[in-house]
């Protein structure tokens, strides 16, 4: 992996996510930002995909089960070249191709319609099963939220994936420790995702979800094993990469006030400057 390249890709996705949501004026900042590093590693290095041919048969599949992270995914797809970046400013506008929750029938590069929590995991398992049944090597990547794991369907899907030894399935748990109504430990304490996934029959890696090198390393290790599906527990922060948003208490869905707006604009300015300097440097 070219670390510098993936980190630049990450910065571009984060910048585009912020610009996209800032343009709309409100939205799911917290959970979009916490998955940026993972999206950068997947779309910037790991996944075999072709933006000019989103339906390419030999592609790897990506399903964002935590559908409310859609704005982050759209930014990654736009930076990758699936559609023009200006399209990001149509997020949630009437008649848009970018609804807040992904719709596979609207957006180039979106593999599955998600948003009703828990369902994307099962669809990802179905895709991985299909490839296994057909003796194909396509990989399936799925990001699920820590709050989303309240849904029993996820645990059904994990049992099923382990039973069928779907080793080309990679489940990322975005452990950002907050759900809509507050900290996950106060609502449904997850206790220990890594131990649970291990008990459910997965290979488990626990990584710093803000560290692209660490995420990449975990995926590489997961790829090298051929027995069980892979779970990567991402230690993340809701609002990740923007200090002000990380520290904001209620950051699942933000309707920014003046102070918030100034902080978001400052973060956009800093990322723009950083990327320009990299281009010059």
């Amino acid at each position: 992996m070219d670390l510098a390249k993936v980190e630049r890709f990450r910065d571009e996705i984060r910048l585009k996510t912020l610009q996209e949501l800032h343009h709309l004026g409100f939205g799911h900042y917290g959970g979009s930002l916490s998955i940026i590093e993972t999206l950068a590693v997947l779309y910037g290095d790991v996944m075999q995909v072709d933006p000019d041919d989103p339906a390419w048969e030999d592609r790897d599949y990506f399903i964002l089960s935590k559908g409310h992270g859609g704005p982050g995914l759209y930014a990654a797809l736009a930076v990758k070249g699936y559609f023009p970046q200006e399209m990001l400013y149509t997020l949630n506008q009437n008649g848009t191709k970018l609804p807040s929750h992904p719709d596979k029938n609207l957006t180039p590069g979106v593999d599955m319609t998600t948003g009703s929590l828990g369902q994307g995991v099962s669809a990802a398992v179905g895709v991985a099963l299909s490839h296994k049944l057909s003796s194909r090597n396509n990989r399936t990547f799925c990001i699920v939220g820590d709050g989303e794991l309240n849904e029993g369907q996820c645990w059904e899907a994990f049992q099923f994936a382990a039973h069928h030894k779907l080793h080309d399935l990679f489940v990322f748990i975005d452990d950002n420790k907050k759900q809509l109504d507050g900290p996950t430990k106060d609502i449904i304490d997850p206790i220990d995702f890594a131990a649970k996934m291990d008990a459910f029959g997965f290979y488990v890696y626990k990584v710093d979800g803000s560290d692209v090198a660490a995420i990449h390393q975990a995926i590489s290790q997961g790829i090298s094993q051929k027995e069980k599906p892979v779970a990567i527990v991402l230690d993340t922060i809701k609002g990740q990469g923007v200090r002000y948003l990380e520290e904001l208490a209620d950051n699942h869905h933000i309707r920014p006030n003046e102070t918030d707006t100034a902080a978001i604009e400052q973060a956009i300015y800093e990322l723009e400057t950083k990327l320009q300097q990299e281009v010059r440097g």
Partner: protein, 317 residues
């Protein structure tokens, strides 16, 4: 075209399902049957034995099974999902609605043990709502198979038609209605018996009851037309309107709640096209219970006599 002896078939509907899916799966490696631990109830274990890669038993996890089916469809597979009707619809409704209908995936669903035919499984397993639920899924096709010829034909036909298809059926022996060469189009009903005085529109096990009711009515000098409306959505609005114009009144008959099912669908067509007097035979504001089909038929007023009585009252109005 149709038999008039009202005799039970030798082949059970579950055998028809298992044998047809086995035939389809052998011919097409993309056909995958999914079960949620009811393989032995529907006799698909023979598929598991012959082509194990094309029958996936998900275990008792219907919501996940529906999502897995959607995932299989994303990669070009043709999943046939079976479980009892209430699990296939009530239990997985958001999954089949979002990952199925809304996501525009290709899922074939068989809901077995329709209505009172769940018999000794009782109220928890007795679905009087599945037609209604499935009618509310945009673009979903909803059928109720009335005999083995029809079930086999529908299962084969929908393999070639993309989208969410729901077939409701009983699991055991139906009354023989159709010869082996009969065909069943999407959005069409079958006129099984013509008549000028009143029309009975029925589905599933109620088709045979409707034919028997027509015999009773004949003794009262009332000539009843009988239609098998196996395609509940899309529904044959043309045929319904034609018979509303031709006969004096319409009785619908279904092994389902009168709300949301065939009776609702027919009344919607009539209200918009040609309102006539009608009565809906079906379950009214009640839950299921254990019992034999004959007992339950009487209890829920689903017998040929109930249909005939309703028709006589309507005709006399």
């Amino acid at each position: 075209m149709i038999s008039t002896v009202y005799e039970k078939e030798k082949r059970e509907m579950r055998q028809v399902y298992a044998e047809t899916i086995l035939e389809l799966a052998k011919a097409n490696p993309d056909v995958i049957a999914l079960e949620a631990d009811l393989m032995s109830a529907i006799t698909t274990n023979k598929i598991k034995a012959e082509i194990p890669n094309q029958l996936i038993n998900s275990g008792i996890m219907e919501a996940n099974m529906m999502g897995v089916a959607a995932g299989l469809s994303l990669t070009g597979k043709i999943p046939y999902v079976h479980t009892f009707g209430q699990f296939a619809t009530r239990r997985t409704y958001d999954q089949l609605f979002v990952s199925g209908g809304y996501a525009k995936t290709n899922i074939k669903i068989l809901g077995s043990d329709a209505g009172i035919t769940a018999e000794h499984n009782g109220g928890t397993h007795m679905t009087f709502e599945d037609i209604g639920l499935m009618r509310l899924v945009p673009q979903a096709h909803v059928y109720e198979a009335s005999d083995s010829t029809m079930l086999g034909y529908l299962l084969r036909r929908i393999e070639k038609e993309y989208g969410v298809h729901y077939i409701r059926t009983i699991r055991k022996n139906a009354i023989k209605l159709y010869e082996e060469n009969e065909t069943f189009e999407d959005g069409k009903g079958k006129l099984l018996r013509d008549g000028e005085d009143i029309t009975i529109i029925a589905t599933g096990i109620m088709v045979a009851e409707a034919l028997q009711a027509a015999d009773i009515l004949e003794q009262h000098g009332i000539h009843a037309a009988v239609i098998d409306m196996y395609s509940i959505k899309p529904i044959d609005a043309e045929l319904i309107t034609e018979y509303a114009q031709k006969t004096k009144a319409i009785v619908t008959a279904e092994n389902h709640n009168v709300i949301g099912g065939l009776g609702s669908a027919v009344s919607e067509v009539l209200a918009e096209n040609h309102p006539v007097s009608m009565y809906r035979i079906g379950v009214r504001e009640q839950y299921g219970q254990v019992g034999k089909v004959d007992y339950l038929k009487t209890y829920y007023k689903l017998s040929d006599r109930d249909i005939a009585e309703a028709a006589i009252k309507l005709f006399a109005r």
